[in-house]
């Protein structure tokens, strides 16, 4: 092998990323080739400089850690909502009246909608398939949720892409993801959620359709054309499964 070809292997060689045969071949070559040895030494020297430059201690890590812990802690979250709830109740009772509490834009609905959207967006960022349930685990979870068999809740033309457990706002949900050529639909199912939402929530390009207190929601992009049909089918199926 010529030096030109050999030098392409130097990079994976110094990273220990070559197979045994190639490693042996490169090691043998550089023993007898001063040019490639120089090249390798130069690469290693630059690597070392870069490592040193990159690994400078960064200040403010402890504060950053505290902020992260605070953001994932349920206590401040509950406290915040409790305070927000009290403030909202006082304001509404003075200015508007009790009927406002039945509106679909209450803080809990808003927070829950945001959490569902975050879960859907997270899907596209999930790096590893390990977080998705295999068919057998999915059947177990469906059984736990009282959905004995995989319900056919997908809109026409969509197929089941995968399922996972998620916990938006600390409520355990099974998320079923359906896909066609252009779009994706997520269904969130939980027997532990019994809060009825009213009205369709549109936010950030998503539409969230409540399917009843059985806690099933569709999260879709606004352009989904057969949303009404899907909702009807899903409501019927959920109703049948809940009875």
């Amino acid at each position: 092998m010529e030096c030109k070809d050999m030098q392409k292997l130097l990079s994976p060689f110094i990273d220990n990323e070559l197979g045994a045969q190639d490693t042996f071949m490169v090691a043998e070559h550089i023993e007898t080739c001063p040019s490639c040895l120089r090249e390798m030494d130069a690469m290693r020297a630059i690597d070392e400089q870069l490592k040193q430059a990159g690994h400078t201690p960064i200040e403010g890590i402890e504060q950053m850690r505290d902020r992260i812990l605070d953001s994932i802690s349920p206590v401040p979250w509950i406290r915040r909502w409790r305070m927000a709830g009290i403030a909202a109740a006082v304001l509404f009772s003075i200015v508007v009246g009790r009927q406002i509490f039945s509106a679909s834009s209450d803080p809990e609905t808003t927070a829950f909608s945001e959490a569902l959207i975050a879960e859907v967006q997270l899907n596209s960022n999930q790096p590893f398939s390990l977080t998705w349930l295999d068919p057998r685990s999915l059947q177990d979870v469906l059984r736990q949720e009282g959905l004995e068999e995989l319900p056919n809740l997908a809109p026409a033309g969509f197929h089941l892409e995968g399922a996972r457990i998620c916990n938006p706002l600390s409520h355990l949900f099974l998320q079923l993801v359906y896909r066609n050529q252009n779009e994706e639909v997520s269904l969130f199912v939980s027997k532990r959620w019994n809060r009825p939402f009213s009205g369709i929530v549109k936010r950030d390009g998503f539409t969230i359709v409540p399917l009843g207190i059985r806690a099933v929601y569709l999260v879709t992009k606004e352009s989904l054309t057969n949303l009404v049909d899907t909702r009807q089918v899903a409501e019927e199926e959920i109703s049948a499964l809940s009875s």
Binding site: D47, A53, T56, G60, M64, I72, N125, P127, F128, L130
Partner: protein, 178 residues
């Protein structure tokens, strides 16, 4: 059990590496802090389904890269041109890279900033963060062969830009030896 304690134990030790990388790739400490916080929030939300066999560090980096991609849009900041040193929320100025006594940081940064972002990212993840090629491929969502070729080209280019520096150092070492 995938609870808060195990999240703290497994995920939080990587804050510094994530922040370092976010600062390097975004060129802005405040944006880097926001991205790291968002990364942990997303990671926490899906931690219940996180499998212990998963490489936590690589998983977090993958989320971070996606967060950065979304927040930055198509525009990539040039860390050298726009914010070589950045101001933190506490007001202290912290260099993204250290300046060694002979001023090598500038040479190194200048050289790195000649590289296209996709080459810089691979170089950073493999050399500074020490990820294997396979992990880097997963983090950046590119084939492993692409990691290998980008790394080879990045190293070759970097060496080309740094050659005068290396020569100067050798001369200095040689003078010192005499």
């Amino acid at each position: 059990m995938r609870n808060r304690a195990s999240f703290e134990q497994e995920a939080l030790p990587h804050i510094e590496a994530l922040l370092r990388t976010a600062a390097r790739m975004s060129g802005d400490r405040t944006r880097a802090e926001d991205a790291v916080q968002e990364t942990y929030l997303r990671a926490w939300r899906s931690f219940r389904t996180y499998q212990p066999e998963t490489n936590c560090r690589a998983w977090l980096f993958r989320i971070l890269l996606n967060v950065l991609k979304k927040t930055a849009g198509k525009k990539r900041h040039d860390p050298l041109a726009e914010a070589e040193d950045v101001e933190t929320v506490s007001g202290k100025v912290i260099p993204l890279f250290p300046l060694s006594e002979n001023g090598d940081r500038h040479d190194l940064l200048a050289a790195m900033n000649h590289l296209a972002p996709e080459f810089r990212d691979v170089l950073w993840l493999v050399i500074v963060e020490g990820f294997a090629y396979k992990e880097t491929a997963q983090i950046l969502d590119i084939p492993i062969g692409t990691v290998m070729s980008r790394l080879f080209r990045a190293r070759r280019e970097l060496r080309r830009f740094l050659t005068p520096t290396i020569s100067r150092e050798r001369e200095r070492a040689s003078d010192h030896g005499m």
